[in-house]
């Protein structure tokens, strides 16, 4: 890639997606992931993004993107419209997580979810010893300016999938620069899950 190295989370998601797939990215931001998916996987992609300036960046990349919020963006799609629906670093900012996830599993044959792990040891240390809301690499915001509405751990999400009878096909947990296979709920900053419902 010319001007920027591939982010680790993007690399992981790329690995999860089969070539020639159709992908909907909910909260696609500047479109970096979608751009990669076209280049590396020859995917047919569509983004949804709420930020107008990010839309302009997507359009400059030649991407198809809808200006709108994730909470209402899915309802108008037919069942199984896409091979994959991606919610990378957007799940924690959605108002009605449960509703959106169920709809994502309806619209996509598979869903990929990536979120910051609230139970990372650095967060735990800050909570335990300082009694303060954690501020870490994966959760870089102060309590008063965070866009995150939900704080969940990798274990929380696994538990959620069990409860809702959602299949976890694969999970990859990562730190800043590498994959964390060992005790991920303690050592991983980000959890990435490939899930489906059949």
């Amino acid at each position: 890639m010319a001007s920027k190295e591939i982010q680790l989370d993007h690399e992981v998601i790329l690995d999860l997606i089969k070539p020639q797939s159709t992908v909907l990215d909910l909260g696609c931001g500047n479109g970096d992931l979608l751009y990669l998916l076209i280049k590396e996987r020859n995917a047919r992609v569509q983004g949804i993004e709420i930020d107008e300036q990010a839309i302009y960046k997507c359009v400059a990349k030649g991407l198809n993107v809808f200006h709108g919020d994730v909470d209402s963006g899915l309802t108008e799609f037919k069942d199984k419209s896409f091979d994959y629906v991606v919610l990378n670093q957007s799940l924690q900012q959605i108002l009605h997580v449960d509703k959106v996830l169920i709809d994502a599993l309806r619209v996509g044959k598979k869903v990929i979810v990536g979120f910051p792990n609230f139970a990372h040891y650095k967060s735990r240390v800050q909570m335990f010893f300082r009694g303060r809301t954690p501020v870490t690499g994966a959760l870089p915001y102060q309590w008063y300016d965070t866009p995150n509405l939900h704080f969940l751990s990798i274990s929380d999400f696994k538990n959620y999938c069990r409860l809702k009878k959602i299949n976890v096909e694969r999970s990859v947990c990562i730190g800043q620069a590498r994959r964390i296979p060992f005790l991920p709920n303690l050592f991983a900053q980000t959890g990435i899950f490939l899930i489906s419902k059949e």
């Binding site: 500047n30 302009y56 198809n64 037919k78």
Partner: protein, 386 residues
């Protein structure tokens, strides 16, 4: 520096000339055969060898074929001059841009003020009730006449956007992309209501005389009021407050109901100016065509669009309350459901409906990149991390 040089330095389309294309008959949606039909049109840029770079611009209610550049000896730039020219959104170094005055108009194309060859008098109300699809069918004839099989894009705002949707529904095989801007699949009761007040103002003018005013004074008061109502709906509360506030003009008149607020003076000026360049009967016919338009013809738009390969860019504006964003989202929804490749952007503007003429920077960015993608027929542009 003489004026001509100055214009060319400002990336203008330069000196342009209107042309006229005439054909014998047009079968109207009503079944009636009408003719002869003349369409006034202008072109900018050069049609390439394989005729793959042609873009049709469709104008709004009061627009005309003069979309860019200036006419010889005049200094009126076209109505979308900021968008059409070298290096602009519609880059005339690359693309061949066409704009024609609509059927029913009064700026060179056949309309109610044209001479009826059978009576050698203006048609007036003998002119048939036309539809947006009729307008587009006439445009298709012009495009055929120019030898263009497939347009790169059809682009227009407001009523121009209605024509864009009509093209998308009726001639998908003749298009590679469409850009409907600040428009709707069909008018809401509110939009019809505003148009009806405008029509009533014209018809209430004693000079209107059931449309037969061409040999005497024109219904200028009525048409001016219609235009004033129009202008109110084209602006937003905020843009009016910013432009005029409650500032008063010093008119030095003693009449009690003189136009002393600046906004009043502005509306009167706009109204009076419009009368000089627009025909009242055209206003009646065109607004009626807009009100009657339903892009999907009573069916579901997503069913009609199913399987189309045309790429779509939909643009709306936050403060536009005449063609609110929810109407553009209806278009987007149909595209979503039919699996049409679509991009949608709601531009944060305070200009109201007029924004489609004024938000040059944002629209240019969207149009430029979108057209580039269509023209070069590749998926992704730019460097990673743009």
């Amino acid at each position: 520096m003489n004026k001509e040089n100055k214009i060319i330095q400002n990336n203008s389309a330069g000196i342009v000339k209107a042309q006229v294309f005439t054909f014998d008959t047009l079968k109207l949606e009503s079944g009636e055969r009408f003719g002869p039909v003349s369409l006034a049109y202008e072109t900018y840029g050069v049609l390439n060898k394989d005729k793959s770079n042609a873009i049709l611009i469709t104008h709004a209610l009061s627009g005309d074929a003069h979309a860019a550049g200036v006419h010889e000896g005049e200094d009126n730039p076209g109505w979308w001059n900021e968008f059409i020219g070298p290096q602009k959104a519609f880059d005339t170094d690359k693309y061949f841009v066409i704009c024609s005055n609509i059927l029913g108009g009064c700026k060179g194309s056949t309309g109610p003020s044209s001479i009826n060859p059978k009576t050698t008098k203006p048609y007036a109300l003998d002119f048939p009730l036309i539809t947006i699809n009729d307008i587009v069918n006439a445009q298709k004839r012009l495009v055929d006449h120019l030898g263009i099989e497939k347009l790169l894009a059809v682009v227009g705002g407001s009523m121009g956007g209605q024509q864009v949707l009509s093209w998308l529904v009726n001639y998908p095989q003749s298009l590679r992309s469409v850009v409907p801007i600040a428009t709707t699949i069909k008018h809401s009761p509110q939009q019809i209501a505003f148009n009806e007040v405008g029509r009533q103002a014209i018809m209430a003018d004693a000079h209107w005389k059931s449309g037969n005013y061409y040999d005497g004074p024109v219904p200028s008061k009525g048409l001016a009021v219609a235009r004033m109502i129009g202008h109110i709906t084209y602006m937003s509360d905020k843009s009016m407050a910013e432009k005029f506030g409650r500032a008063k003009k010093d008119v030095g008149e003693t009449f009690k109901f003189t136009a002393d607020f600046e906004v009043e003076g502005y509306l009167r000026y706009r109204g009076d100016n419009f009368v000089k360049r627009f025909d009242a009967n055209s206003y009646l016919y065109i607004t009626k065509a807009m009100d009657n338009f339903d892009a999907s013809g009573g069916r579901r738009l997503e069913e009609i669009l199913q399987g189309t390969k045309v790429k779509v860019l939909v643009i709306s504006f936050k403060s536009d309350w005449l063609y609110p964003a929810y109407q553009s989202k209806e278009i987007v929804k149909a595209c979503k459901l039919s699996g049409v490749e679509t991009t949608y952007c709601e531009i944060d503007s305070t200009y109201g409906h007029d924004a489609f003429l004024l938000e040059v920077e944002e629209e240019t960015h969207l149009l430029k990149h979108f057209l580039k993608k269509i023209f070069y027929a590749y998926e992704v542009t730019g460097d990673y991390g743009v």
